[in-house]
Symmetry: C2
Subunit: 593 residues, 2 copies
Amino acid sequence: MDGQSAADQNRDNDRLNKNLARLLPALSWAANYNRGILGGDLLAAVIVTIMLIPQSLAYALLAGLPAEMGLYASILPLVAYALFGTSRTLSVGPVAVVSLMTATAIGKVAAVGSIDYATAAIAMAMMSGLILLAMGVLRFGFLANWLSHPVVSGFISASGIIIALSQLRHILGIAAHGDTLPELVSSLAGNLSDINVITLATGLVAIAFLFWARSGLKPLLQRLGMSADTASIVAKAGPVLVILATTMVSYLAGYGAQGVALVGSVPQGLPSLSMPSFDLELWSELAVSALLISIIGFVESVSVGKTLAAKRRQRINPNQELIALGAANMASAVSAGFPVTGGFSRSIVNFDAGAQTPGASIMAAVGIGLAALLLTPVLFFLPKATLAATIIVAVTSLLDLQIVKKAWHYSISDFIAVVMTITATLVLGVELGVLAGIVASVLLHLYKTTQPHIAVVGAVAGTEHFRNVQRHNVITQNNILSLRVDESLYFANASYLEDYVYRFIAENKELEHVILQCTAINEIDMSALGALDAINHRLHEQGLKLHLSEVKGPVMDGLEKSDFLQQLSGQVFLTHHQAVTTLKHDEIEPYII
Amino acid sequence: MDGQSAADQNRDNDRLNKNLARLLPALSWAANYNRGILGGDLLAAVIVTIMLIPQSLAYALLAGLPAEMGLYASILPLVAYALFGTSRTLSVGPVAVVSLMTATAIGKVAAVGSIDYATAAIAMAMMSGLILLAMGVLRFGFLANWLSHPVVSGFISASGIIIALSQLRHILGIAAHGDTLPELVSSLAGNLSDINVITLATGLVAIAFLFWARSGLKPLLQRLGMSADTASIVAKAGPVLVILATTMVSYLAGYGAQGVALVGSVPQGLPSLSMPSFDLELWSELAVSALLISIIGFVESVSVGKTLAAKRRQRINPNQELIALGAANMASAVSAGFPVTGGFSRSIVNFDAGAQTPGASIMAAVGIGLAALLLTPVLFFLPKATLAATIIVAVTSLLDLQIVKKAWHYSISDFIAVVMTITATLVLGVELGVLAGIVASVLLHLYKTTQPHIAVVGAVAGTEHFRNVQRHNVITQNNILSLRVDESLYFANASYLEDYVYRFIAENKELEHVILQCTAINEIDMSALGALDAINHRLHEQGLKLHLSEVKGPVMDGLEKSDFLQQLSGQVFLTHHQAVTTLKHDEIEPYII
């Protein structure tokens, strides 16, 4: 082997390592792992584990699945994301909105509690994983951009309301069902006579305690002599305390005999690995839902990841995130879990507790694994009302009705988009809700471009700058109409411009020149080119010249490919100032000479 | 009655007259009608009548309807449009594309030749009329703008191909059916052995004569001693000559006994007036098709009307046109006709023949009425192949495959739109074809806005104007990044800008200021405002200031309603020149003092 080939090999190795590092971001943090980082990660892992146990059980309940599936969905998916994800602190697992969407989707193909139902949930995780992976490989991360901020906020808030309502039945101890606000309300109202008082009391106490614990537990612990840090950690264990307390009361008071719904027997041990069902009929029935779940899960996860990364001046890579979430969902599917994504509250806790790397998530996965091995017998007596209480309290943080107010103040179309999304989600359910939001925001955006703002502009004294005559004190010329069209010209607004120009020239008989200042025209498509051509000819017939100014490079490239510039009665000027100076001069000259 | 109330009454009368004139544009031309106008209109009416008789029969055949329905659709609709329409010279009646769309739509609900089929066609005219009327009253004329020029051209060309293919069976004398290119081709190919040689010979001779007549008949007539004007008029009667000749041959040679398909017995007399069937099931089945037929018919009619009006410096009012076309279709429905719209060839003939007012159309309606009363017995022996030949020759003028070449040269997205429309129309049929075209052009437009052109700009020497550094020889400052984003900022491109800015500042360490020149930013929605906020904070953390320049009035109004301007680390400048001058100065000052 000579020197050349050794250098070649080194270069090949470098390239291989680089590609490997891109594919497996874990390599970048694992290489520098040390005892200091381990300390931070371990503490975060303990806190997240304590938080995840009740959350996992609760979101399994929300999805209508057996409690153990919540634990299963919080083991391997965390490891998979830790290996492939680009966020250092994101915590993956079952989350509220995705669990609700899963319940809605699989509720259409199987009855809650049936084996088919659990099978469908596992298949959904696999489909969602494959969709996310494919989107990542194809670099389709940009699809998430179609969900505007008002649509996402509105959707999550409305989902929160539906989630809270869906859990009320566990608090009241009655049967109720439905995926929409009207269904849930009428179903709950119809069964109100079946209320189980003990269940209700347990649920209300749990809710009250959890709300209080948010703000009141930490100061109390500190007053009892605990250090601020310890108190802060113990306070996050509020849900665990409620679970322990209500489980004990349930056991001692014999809740089971009094008609209180309990979690019941939960299999002890780790999930066995197996491939999910590849039933073609089932898969095709779930396909659209799986796509929606994937996109919503991705958007939620990426927005959390971005927020946290920005705080430590790190960055995440959306396309790699798709791959990592895909891996996490496939890991969930092969270990009898259900769809997962990066969750807001758990990631914040992980971050605040000092997690430095995804190593924290791997250790949390070990923690949940231990819980699945050792703690499940304790869960037998846990009232479902307690889990419902943790869900209800958790989703109140999703409710952001401020967005409606903000949108109302900021812009009417953002307001319409958010109201449409909230209404559609509440009335038609989560899937149609998110679709309605996307469609509404796209149509509103398009609608605005069909009637563009057109300003008559004049020169700002002392500058070469031109502004709207209605807003600024500017200098205009009687023989020149300077128009600034504030939109790209395309088929949907081409005739609007035509009408505007014709109306204007009909009312202004002194005009000799019309100059279109093209600063905001980023595109002229063929239909708009036809309209410009028509305007040019019409003006020419009436003895007026059409000029263009400040045409951008890409637009000019297009015009040069057509014969429009040969037809144009006037000229194309580099700047509007030059255009007005030239054309004004032309008019004055005859009088000077 | 005192003076005051008389003045009031006058004013009321004036207002009433004005409203009436807007509602009934016929009043404006009828008031000034005189003998000179009558002469022009009468001549045009005679020519149009001669042209309309074969066209009406042929388009009835194309729609799969009895020949007399073609005549019926050319009587009352002309009168209705003459009363309500705003074009002086548009000629309304059955047209090729709308007849094809009608055949496609009603072919789905009834068998060709059945009474139900004719009933459905009449119902379709009524539905289309009501839809057009509603669109007019609601001022929804802008909907037509969603059909871009490439989509309309591609759609009409592809429809022309389908029409020509669908008529081939009448030329060949074989059975064939289908609404798409593959269906028609395989259906024709499968029945080729049934060819009727006499039918084929008649059809081919008719086609050859009609093509020759287009260019050769007028010079021949002139050589035979006819004046240029008379020759021009007689030459337009080419189709009538073919009909007369082939009918005579058919009668004399006993075509009927030799298996040649003839028009057969056509009821003599005017249509009886009656309300069309209001079968709810039928109407709901036809609803989507009726909407598409209405929009396509409107677009075709308005584009013809606009072209002709422009030639005489007249204008048409799109919303009133909707009302007039609505009235014309309802008139067609109550007189046993089928959907109609303003046709290109007949309107050109009407215009060229010197029609001054819609009075010409009213007289043409009388002419067609006379034909229905007197001429129908003659039609018994008319071979269908002759009518098919007139259709085939007529639709060749619809084929504009130049549009594909033009779009290819002008812009890739226009090219994709036209190719998608043509392919979808040929392969999937007219309805899905036009829908595919609309969806494709909207998505292409949106896609372009998601990855906006962003230019780094510098000052053009000797001006206050800033241009792209890659296209112009401009002056830049090391400490200032001047960015011009060539698109409105909204949810679909907000993160694109964010990524662009971050990437740029990571590579340029000397920067102190980033100035966004906002000339092309016509809107900043809430999602984009969030992105700007994030950029502002991120730059601030890295010691950079974000500034805006040349923010438009409406955009500034929005920003002022938010707290973005309070958060902004830099300033908002009236002009980009001022921004650069100010910020450059700031930097130099320390060295001067």
